[in-house]
């Protein structure tokens, strides 16, 4: 079978099959409508894709911002904690220093107060001396002004008994000896 024969057979077979169904008269309009629809769909798809991308970017940036904010907050919290710790430590130190100062002041006050007090032994000595003096004075008055010799002797003896080491005990002893001497002299005179 030659090429031409095959060609002829094919041609005849094609002819007997009949042509395609006649196309609609408004084919161009239909194509334009489809093109318009497709362009609209493409545009809508692009807009939707852009919207999705923008939305995704928005969410992403929001998350990033949120994460950054959270990190910043965590960092700030850490700083605040550190500052608080430092402040607490400083306050404790200040408190300790103030306590120390207060104690020192109190100690100084007490020391000053202590320094202001006189020696109690000395004071007792003074009081004892005063009392002895007062007793001797009373005894002198009783002997010389009131002429109560017995009471005066009792008072002198009491001074000697109570304050034997004081100088007024010595005075009382002198007075007693004087009184005894006077009594002796007076008894001698009476006898004479």
């Amino acid at each position: 079978m030659t090429e031409d024969k095959i060609k002829n057979l094919l041609y005849e077979a094609d002819q007997t099959a009949g042509g395609p169904v006649p196309l609609s008269s408004n084919l161009a309009a239909a194509v334009r409508r489809r093109a318009s629809r497709r362009q609209t769909a493409n545009l809508a798809l692009r807009v939707a894709a852009a919207a999705v991308i923008l939305f995704a970017i928005g969410i992403w940036s929001f998350n990033v911002k949120k994460t950054r904010d959270r990190q910043r907050i965590v960092a700030l919290e850490m700083q605040i904690k550190e500052l608080k710790t430092q402040t607490d430590a400083t306050l404790n130190l200040i408190r300790e220093v103030l306590d120390e100062e207060r104690k020192q002041r109190r100690l100084n006050e007490l020391q000053a107060q202590l320094a202001s007090y006189s020696d109690p032994l000395e004071e007792i000595q003074k009081q004892a001396d005063k009392t002895a003096f007062f007793l001797v004075y009373q005894a002198n008055r009783m002997y010389r002004e009131l002429d109560q010799k017995d009471s005066a002797i009792k008072a002198y003896k009491r001074v000697i008994e109570l304050f034997p080491q004081s100088r007024w005990a010595e005075v009382a002893r002198q007075r007693l000896s004087e009184i005894q001497k006077n009594q002796h002299d007076n008894s001698k005179g009476d006898l004479i």
Binding site: M1, Y11, E12
Partner: protein, 185 residues
Amino acid sequence: MTKTLDYEFLVEKFSRGDETAFDRIVEGCSADIAVLANRLLGWPGDVEDIVQDVFLAAFLGLKKFRCECSLKTWLFTITINKCRSYRYKQMLYLRFFSKAAAKASATGTCNEGKAQMDDETFQEIRHAVQALPLKYREPVVLRYLQELSMEETARILSISKNALQVRLSRARERLRQDLTELIGQ
């Protein structure tokens, strides 16, 4: 030559935004596109969807057409591609719904059967063409039925002239094998 020039002018007009030029292109080329699609798809008759797809692709891409070849060659290339994807979709459809589709296609082909002996013979020839692999069927349709030149056919199929000759030769061989018995009768 005049027609080619005319189409170039129409393409230029369309590129400038004159959509009536597209109407004229459709008027001038739709019949040829329909015939080619009809032959490539195995003479199903109704090829309006394919033709619409071809012109839709042309409408969307015409502004990028640089007139390096004739408009018809360009449209034929689109038609070839559309028919390939159409057949591929059909094949997928057959895979999914094999039984129902096989029945449908069987009835479809039977409808075209005719009582007369000649018609049956020609139908067998058409079946033989349909049974050819795509790479042989396309050159046969373009070269023998559309009667395009070797250069044009090679250009549309994006192959060299030698490759086209080889394919045509092999296609003829296959047809010869399939049709010997039939022709012998």
